[in-house]
Symmetry: C2
Subunit: 374 residues, 2 copies
């Protein structure tokens, strides 16, 4: 038994205060259902972090899918990819024949500035919110690997060039290293353009158990883990271990090695995240990611393009929608439908999302999935 | 393949501002793990509606269960029973061998009065919050079936008598009809003591695929549906149809009829909810529930006791924890461990939770489960 992606769809990404969350979901769902050429599904798994009560039901009602079992899942930034993982498992077990994975988030209606801290989280109460956690990771990484501020900025520059080619991206302007480093300091060494902004969007996918044609993309494997206690004495920065271990689960299930990957969509909520992640995934050796970025290996046209969509930094990071949006980009890439962003001869795609990480946890959740052209 | 409940546990129910949500979860988890006599599980499904980012991970970290796949699910008032349903399906499919279903909610730290309305829900924006929706149901039910205000109040009286016998209940005082009807009017005809209050609590269960001894309780079936568009022209009040249809799925899967049920834990967030639900479940004929309550049939010692725990009205309604708390009560009943609340010779237990219902939906979600003594 395997699972296939029959169709994908997304809304635009960015500040969309004129639209309700369910309206963004309708755009994604309508595109995915038309792409899959199906009108009915058996169940839906819906990823959202801050989505309000019933948003999933209102979204599915609007496309004629009321009444089916709907399970809304939350796993921090990995909520959308957790919805994908649960949909995948439901297909593999034969529980359902056709399943929707939907992600939806409307952050600009909830937060005026950065996402607020949780008063019941004693670590966050000290000021250690996500920019701070990632800034500590960046400082440690720079110390361990002699990396520079320019190495970090180069990730934002690369992804901004990719995002400029994506008509649905939130940030569509190619940035220079000087612009990235010259933008406002958020949490040293991370400047504004090294942090994903608030975003509103939805993304959807239809999964089924059979291959119906050459446009279907195989979901070879997906794996989910939660972080263990963060080992502060480790040489690895925060989040490395959970990504490495989850990736190993996914590679083993799919029977691939990281060198098999032709294109990646990974979690770059902050620039340092992409550097740590491509190393934890085994695509680059430890400490080697900055040189790979500098050599253009992860750019469109390079050896292993990473985040051709623009990534979370440029396409946007609507938390619950992100994982499914990563999936949509990989499906378009593996079908050869990615227009100006197309990675030549892409056969194997890797998806990675790492969510949260509070109260000393090495990430709340990580999902890694392996996609293959049909 | 079937599934068995190996152990259950809960915290106390009520206003617990001195405890963090994860601390309540630790109490429930520690009791459930000790009851099941297991130290490790393969995965956890966690129900919460308003729980903050990472609450599930912090809860499981605290009992030595970090690192396993954790999926937090939301389905309005059916969040806990959806976690149970997903855990059940994971056992049935052989995906995992041992699974935790956890529910946790800490409402008093989030809301000072009633649960706030959702600004993106256009129906709620008109003032149609849950007390209003249930009040409309109550008025319609009274009209259709010549029921009286006293018939509604009798449900609160019965459940308060049950709750008075439950050492963990939020409201532990037996109420009279006069007290119920004399309490403050919330949404006519529903008075204060006919509405579940804000509650903080957690509940947990350990599920496995084998029967290990006579204390294990079989989970014979569980079913999940989402509401379709509310048919305002139906003779049935809001929520009836989704409960009836979900129950039919569960009965068919378990091979039982409603008359087989010895004890029920059902969704009585408001008094009218219990009357409509026992009819939709087929335990009473349409319009016959008030007479059954008046005759003592649903009281402890009666033919078919309903909500021996005190129900949502008296044990308490910590949204995401509710479904798993209902499960815990049924497990204690079916083991013969319910002390003063014990239903004699209870062999088959029914669990029902109906969550949400906004934007014209006949309920966001409904879960019905069938339990049987081992």
């Amino acid at each position: 038994m395997s699972a296939w992606i029959w169709g994908v769809g997304t809304s635009n990404f960015g500040r969309q205060t004129d639209k309700l969350p369910a309206e963004l979901a309708w755009e994604a769902l309508q595109e995915a259902l038309a792409d899959a050429d199906v009108a009915h599904v058996d169940a839906a798994f819906v990823g959202t972090v801050f989505g309000s009560l019933g948003v999933a039901q209102r979204a599915l009602l609007g496309v004629g899918l009321a009444g089916i079992p709907i399970v809304t899942v939350e796993n921090a930034c990995a909520s959308g990819s957790t919805a994908l993982h649960e949909a995948h498992q439901a297909i593999l077990s034969g529980r359902y024949e056709r399943v929707i994975a939907l992600g939806v988030e409307h952050l600009t209606s909830l937060f005026a500035g950065p996402i607020a801290s949780d008063p019941t989280d004693r670590e966050q109460a000290t000021g250690l919110l996500f920019p701070g956690i990632y800034a500590m990771s960046a400082s440690r990484y720079m110390y361990e690997h002699d990396a520079t501020a320019e190495d970090l900025a180069a990730v934002a520059v690369k992804n901004s060039r990719h995002g400029a080619l994506n008509p649905r991206a939130q940030r569509r302007r190619a940035l220079s290293v000087e612009e990235v480093l010259g933008s406002r300091m958020i949490a040293e060494p991370l400047t504004l353009f090294q942090c994903a902004g608030l975003s509103d969007a939805a993304a959807a996918a239809v999964l089924g158990p059979t291959r119906r044609g050459s446009r279907d993309v195989a979901l070879r494997a997906s794996a989910l883990r939660s972080g263990t206690s963060w080992d502060h004495t480790s040489r690895h920065v925060w989040g490395y271990d959970v990504v490495r271990d989850t990736a190993r689960d996914a590679y083993d299930a799919a029977g691939i090695e990281p060198s098999d990957a032709d294109v990646l969509e990974v979690h770059d909520a902050f620039t340092i995240g992409e550097l740590v992640t491509v190393e934890a995934l085994g695509v680059d050796a430890e400490g080697a990611a900055p040189a790979a970025v500098a050599a253009g290996e992860h750019s469109l046209g390079g050896k292993t393009p990473v985040n051709p969509s623009g990534g979370l930094l440029s396409r946007g990071h609507p938390l619950g929608a992100t994982g499914v949006a990563q999936l949509a980009e990989l499906v378009w890439q593996l079908r050869g439908e990615a227009d100006q962003r197309q990675v030549a001869d892409a056969r194997i795609g890797l998806l990675e999302t790492m969510g949260g990480g509070t109260a000393g946890l090495d990430g709340n959740a990580c999902v890694v999935a392996v996609l293959q052209a049909g």
